[in-house]
Symmetry: C2
Subunit: 335 residues, 2 copies
């Protein structure tokens, strides 16, 4: 059986209240000699307070839940690393729930989260409508999401300057002499998709290139989902550049180009978004917008912990900057 506070008290020859005071650094002073005896006993018995027992009396679990439909997405890994680091530093534990986008899994995860009375929740990869639904089924705890929400109040939000970044990237491609620029977007429910699309449109319009609806194709943010659109854009529309709303889809474009014998960047320029580590290792290296994943994760967790601790001063919306990485996948062509 694990050693309990009783064992420690007995060994130190004090009451359990005293032990509790000592190990919780209570404001009430404790006689130095007693204090030392208690710590002695703690060490000797290798005592660790039972977090579950603490939780039921303090109503604090020192635990946060992270819910995502797809923890497999490589961009989330940096986020998860950043989150974990901050949480660990503050002695918080992270419960990870992956739903695979499955409704049953979602319900199961929500139930577990609810029953464990976590101190806060972070959502990764949900769009606003969905989030609203999920949040309704959960108790009121501090929440942080990776997205910019327009309608939901009092929720911490971490995101990047998508629109601006995609604008900048598009502009760069235009500067390189491209005028027929295809775009593989994602599901329109996501704010990030709307934002990036807006950036694309603005860049075209500022350069006097008329927006052509047909050059915008829908992907599902996975590699495979970009292969069909790539073929369409390249072979049917004859674009000279393909911009993808994330790096994974750019990989799909690379693959399709290999298949149909188009060389990157000689025949087709390609760019992505996210700045996955892999993208640097493609041949040619992928031009992309780097999102500061680890920092986003860290900031999200910091924000959540602040909210948990009741710090009201912090900004609820945190917008970080992307960085355009100009690599060989985009070619400067003669105009």
């Amino acid at each position: 059986m694990r050693t309990t506070i009783k064992d420690v008290a007995k060994m130190a020859g004090v009451s359990i209240s005293t032990v509790s005071r000592v190990i919780n650094y209570s404001e009430y002073g404790v006689d130095a000699a007693l204090k030392e005896r208690v710590w002695e006993a703690v060490r000797a018995t290798n005592y660790r307070p039972n977090q579950n027992a603490k939780s039921i009396v303090t109503n604090k679990t020192n635990t946060v839940a992270v819910l995502s439909p797809d923890v497999g997405h490589p961009f989330y890994h940096d986020i998860i690393i950043g989150m974990n680091e901050v949480a660990l530093k503050d002695k918080y534990s992270v419960l990870l729930y992956n739903t695979n986008g499955d409704t049953d899994n979602e319900q199961a995860a929500l139930d577990l989260i609810f029953s464990r009375s976590v101190d806060g929740i972070i959502f990764i990869g949900y769009f606003e409508e969905k989030l609203k639904g999920l949040m309704e089924r959960l108790p009121e705890v501090p929440i942080v999401v990776f997205d910019e929400l327009m309608q939901i109040q009092n929720v911490g939000q971490i995101y990047v300057n998508d629109a601006e970044a995609f604008y900048e990237m598009t502009q760069y491609v235009i500067e390189c002499g491209h005028t027929k620029i295809g775009c593989i977007m994602g599901p329109a429910q996501y704010a990030i998709v709307k934002n990036r699309l807006a950036g694309y449109k603005r860049a075209l319009s500022e350069s006097g290139i008329s927006f052509d609806e047909r050059l915008i194709v829908q992907g599902r943010l996975t590699e495979e989902s970009a292969e069909g659109p790539a073929q369409y854009l390249i072979q049917e529309c004859g674009v000279s550049a393909v911009l993808c709303f994330n790096d994974l889809m750019a990989y799909g474009v690379y693959k399709k180009c290999m298949e149909i014998g188009k060389r990157i960047p000689e025949d087709i320029s390609v760019a992505g978004f996210d700045g996955l580590g892999f993208s640097e290792y493609l041949n040619p290296p992928l031009t992309t917008c780097c999102q500061p994943g680890t920092e986003m994760g860290a900031r999200a967790m910091s924000l959540l912990l602040d909210k948990i601790k009741g710090a009201q001063t912090k900004e609820e919306k945190i917008c970080l900057k992307c960085q355009l990485k100009k690599r060989a996948s985009v070619k400067r062509i003669a105009i």
Copy 2:
């Protein structure tokens, strides 16, 4: 305040024991009418049992901890997905601790794990010596690791037929006509490294190719760590093929080849190990051994849950098979 079992009892007009019996599907029958009234009250109040309170009396947390030095490693993602899926299905929650290989973080994570009295622990990415150290500091709970352990008993083990798989891959490369085959290995503490090296040696010896110590270079399993070794093997040793102990290092080789103007596979053949999804999108696609990551994760969690539930019949060691993916990165050359 959250609704408690008392609220439900009051609303249903029964005692809390009855409520407990109903919601826990106790073997003692409960009068159908009462049962219905209880469920009614549960629904009406949206009652969820407090897992923490349950834990302190049942001594079961329905929680498992996963500890890894690097959850960012892409191969672990599939594992984590598989684990989560199985856990969720069985109403277990997964606590994820990432240590970044930092000793302080490790201690912090172990403390948290200890204090939360988890039902089981899974270690990802530790070698045997390290594991021993970690396990000593933890209470006795069921444990599963991703590795084959020689000295530690009573620990669930999930691994693949490394040696055989690497043997097969090496043999394939030899069949393709290569005789001067460089190898970028990893830190020798890892069993997987020893195994794969053994496979490499066996293949050479069976083909009558003498083993040359100088063609074995040490990497650290990261992309960057393979770049120097790649240059050495290619430019100084003049190998025609480079085998890497994981895919990440193969990416490093790709990068270095790009830099020094060597074409893959025309000038140099390259192979990896792991079968990351990304490897298919390289140009040329990478020849590699696919480890069944998701299945490994799922099996690991199943094994752990079995152990937790006291099922003794199961095999403690589970060895899964890799699958060689022959792709364009290895060229058949004239002998």
